[in-house]
């Protein structure tokens, strides 16, 4: 049994909230737009935090949705749900972009949290932006598997079982990775 299938079995029995939209998209691609609108923000955020650049994140988001739309006809729900399948597509796209990034050797730092809230206290904003940069730098310094788990858990809100589907690991292995990642981050942020 593969880790992914163990993860599938470990998922709570539930009805996939996307099931109806997926069935509709398989009959008529017009319905794919519903899934696109539902997930574009989260896929983009995942790509942005992983790649750290708006343009690369847009490219990865575009490729993810076009690939997902192309593959939706072959999608079969094995218990993991559409969301895990979509993020697996996103994860593969982002991993490819990272490989190509390593070849180009560029590593921009994201500035997502620099967007000020209206009427925010300037001193608090500066402190928050600085802390945000420090946290993100620490996340980006994590080993790749730990970083991926952190992003999928906190940015995309996926459960350990869903992350197991995305990364082809058991839910238990994902929980251990998350535990190590958070302990690692605690040490890095203390210093």
């Amino acid at each position: 049994m593969t880790p992914a299938s163990r993860a599938t079995r470990a998922l709570d029995p539930r009805i996939d909230p996307d099931a109806a939209a997926v069935r509709a998209a398989q009959r008529d691609r017009r319905a794919f737009e519903v899934l696109y609108r539902r997930y574009v923000d989260r896929v983009y955020a995942h790509a942005f935090y992983a790649l750290g650049d708006h343009h690369d994140a847009e490219d990865a988001t575009e490729r993810t949705f076009l690939d997902a739309m192309k593959g939706i006809g072959g999608y079969r729900d094995t218990g993991a749900g559409f969301r895990a399948w979509l993020f697996r597509v996103a994860h593969n796209t982002v991993s490819n972009a990272m490989r190509s990034r390593r070849r180009r050797r560029t590593e921009p730092i994201p500035d997502g949290w620099d967007r000020p809230a209206p009427n925010a206290d300037p001193a608090a904003l500066v402190a928050r932006a600085e802390e945000g940069r420090r946290v993100l730098r620490a996340v980006r310094d994590l080993p790749l598997d730990r970083r991926q788990v952190v992003l999928l858990r906190f940015v995309d809100g996926l459960s350990a079982a869903e992350i197991g589907i995305v990364l082809d690991r058991s839910p238990g292995a994902v929980r251990v990775l998350l535990h190590r990642a958070l302990r690692d981050l605690a040490t890095r942020l203390e210093g």
Partner: protein, 118 residues
């Protein structure tokens, strides 16, 4: 009988609670990891893509769907007719090219003969 849960399981449950907007259970052994989780929850906030990008990609998805539907409509209902039309037009192009070649060759030959006779 209570199940003995590992620290990784307890931390995962605490993260679930945090992400659901609830207070994480106080677990002395996990205090540092839970405070990092809290920090990540507030730092890694959703960042929506630009409106222009979102609209352009939506348009591409819309366009791909339209193209696919059009193709399916045409090929699904009149596949036989399409094949016949393709064959006829290929034959017509072939006949046309041959006729043109024959006509040009005959013109050149008659021109050459005409010049010889002069």
């Amino acid at each position: 009988m209570p199940i003995d849960r590992t620290p990784a399981d307890r931390l995962d449950a605490a993260v679930d609670a945090l992400l659901a907007g609830e207070r994480a259970p106080g677990d002395a052994g996990l205090r540092a990891a839970i405070s990092v989780a809290e920090l990540l929850r507030t730092t890694l906030t959703p960042i929506p893509p630009g409106a222009r990008f979102q609209a352009a990609l939506g348009e591409r998805i819309h366009g791909a769907r339209f193209g696919e539907r059009t193709l399916r409509a045409v090929t699904g209902t009149t596949r036989g007719r399409l094949i016949a039309a393709g064959a006829v037009s290929s034959a017509a192009v072939g006949v046309g090219v041959t006729a043109f070649a024959v006509w040009r060759t005959s013109r050149r030959q008659s021109g050459a003969l005409h010049r010889l006779h002069r």
